[in-house]
Symmetry: C2
Subunit: 295 residues, 2 copies
């Protein structure tokens, strides 16, 4: 099988796998309170690239973990991601109406229900991780909680909000995205690897460098697609960042240098994996997929 | 020392103790992102009755745990409670401007920052609990996550929202409050007791009956005070529930029967503690304090 096709088969299988885990972890849509549970399922199921889950599974493969052992961290990082999207889309935040080609959660269910659905999805992430964690649940829960919190994802979102209409240089932009999206991406890889053999400090450092590079690459690609893409291919409102006068890699670096930066970050990700040999193959394929994706 | 004074000394000491734990667990106000960290500290520090923390410490005493061992659960339940208040006060929820005699978090810091502060406080609760848990972190994190989630606190809030202007009978009201405030109160007692000697199934059942009774008593007292109290003594807008046409114990039972119900629930709480002998003294004192409080 050609490598691209083999990756497509693997990633499709793992995306379906985590969707099944999420479906089972989420309360049934007809369980009371119904509107809340419907909103939670709407926000989590039926779409999304499942990048964070794939990273958890690939991190598990790198550490020779059984895929079933990575189900809990894969589902937990997707639940944190889904909650953050619901809250980011709210009128008091990015005020977005379209997500994955569908009305955003608050458009479909109302603001109050969307707020609570996000809150409950965060709780569920920790319930899933704690309930099914292999190894030291203490370490894994703390790792996810710190990645999601004020010195991780929520902190990056706060920095983002504070810089609407205010210039950020490349270092400032990388710091912001390193928290806003990077912290959860690093956590996904580490939580996945945590399911397998112990990592040395050098190996953990290499995994963090890999995850940092692909986290930034993911964001630069997003910014490039926000300029070049259409709502139809993106499944969300195109040109939104520029409209909102938010700093992006394209506004800071220009389009050509932003594209060159993607290539640099992709190479950094592969360099970081070099010491793992063939065990790092899947993470390398994810780096390529992130760098080359068109939507 | 007379018993009331002894309890006042104990509860004051424990409230200060958990405030110190929370102060240390919260990021410094001058750590970036500052607005977010200031909002988190504003929402958590400087007031509140610390009922949930006191219950965790008293649950710990019942199980002969060292007070230091109950610090993590005591702080974690207060963080979950504080996040829920920040989100409940938002314009899309209860739209309240006054809390503990101060402007609510979104009035002081803006809606977006308040939303993120609540989100980050929830994450921090799990970081604190996982980072310092005695015994089985897996069980404790799952217990708190389920109590906070869609089949606990967030679910109760959703039911509450769905019944503005819609009649609820006493059973419906008890179900709603059993989730909205009761789930976290039960978790506080159980997480505290978890820090000490193992409980038998009968003992755990008795603790749950105790916590269920005082959780409901707390709410009935709230409803009575909402009618009889003033904004000054409550530190929040009085008469708000009636204004918003929300069902309350006073609207369902009338004032006299609501007050009688408090006495019944207080007696149920003491009955549930009977088997613990003197080890249950502190929890009994908390039941009295909740039933008899005037603000």
């Amino acid at each position: 099988m050609n490598p691209d096709l083999a990756f497509a088969v693997w990633s499709g299988e793992r995306a379906q796998r985590v969707a099944n885990v999420l479906d089972a972890a989420l309360p049934a849509a007809d369980a009371a309170p119904r509107a809340l549970h419907e909103a939670m399922r709407y926000a989590v199921l039926g779409g999304g690239k499942r990048v964070r889950a794939l990273l958890a599974y690939a991190g598990g493969e790198l550490a020779q973990a059984d895929p079933a052992h990575a189900d809990a961290p894969a589902a937990a990082v997707e639940l944190i991601h889904a909650y953050s999207l619901v809250h980011d889309d709210l009128p008091c935040m990015d005020d977005d109406v379209l997500r994955r080609g569908k009305p955003t959660c608050h458009v479909a269910f109302g603001e109050a229900t969307a707020l609570l659905a996000g809150d409950a999805l965060q709780s569920l992430a920790f319930a899933v991780l704690a309930g099914n964690a292999r190894g030291d649940a203490r370490d894994q829960v703390a790792l996810l909680a710190i990645a999601a919190g004020s010195r991780g994802m929520a902190g990056g979102q706060a920095i983002d909000l504070a810089h609407v209409g205010i210039a950020l240089d490349q270092a400032g932009l990388e710091h912001m995205h390193g928290l806003k999206t990077g912290a959860l991406i690093r956590a996904a890889v580490r939580l996945g690897a945590h399911c397998g053999r112990p990592m040395t400090a050098d190996e953990s450092g290499a995994l963090d460098r890999y995850a940092t590079a692909i986290g930034l690459a993911f964001q630069v690609v997003d910014d490039v697609l926000d300029v070049e893409g259409t709502a139809q291919s993106l499944g969300k409102t195109a040109g939104k960042d520029a409209q909102q006068n938010k700093p992006t890699y394209v506004s800071v670096l220009g389009l050509a240098r932003a594209k060159a930066h993607i290539a640099t970050l992709r190479a950094q990700a592969h360099d970081a994996l070099a010491g793992f040999g063939s065990a790092g193959r899947r993470l390398g394929e994810i780096a390529d997929w992130i760098a080359l994706r068109k939507h």
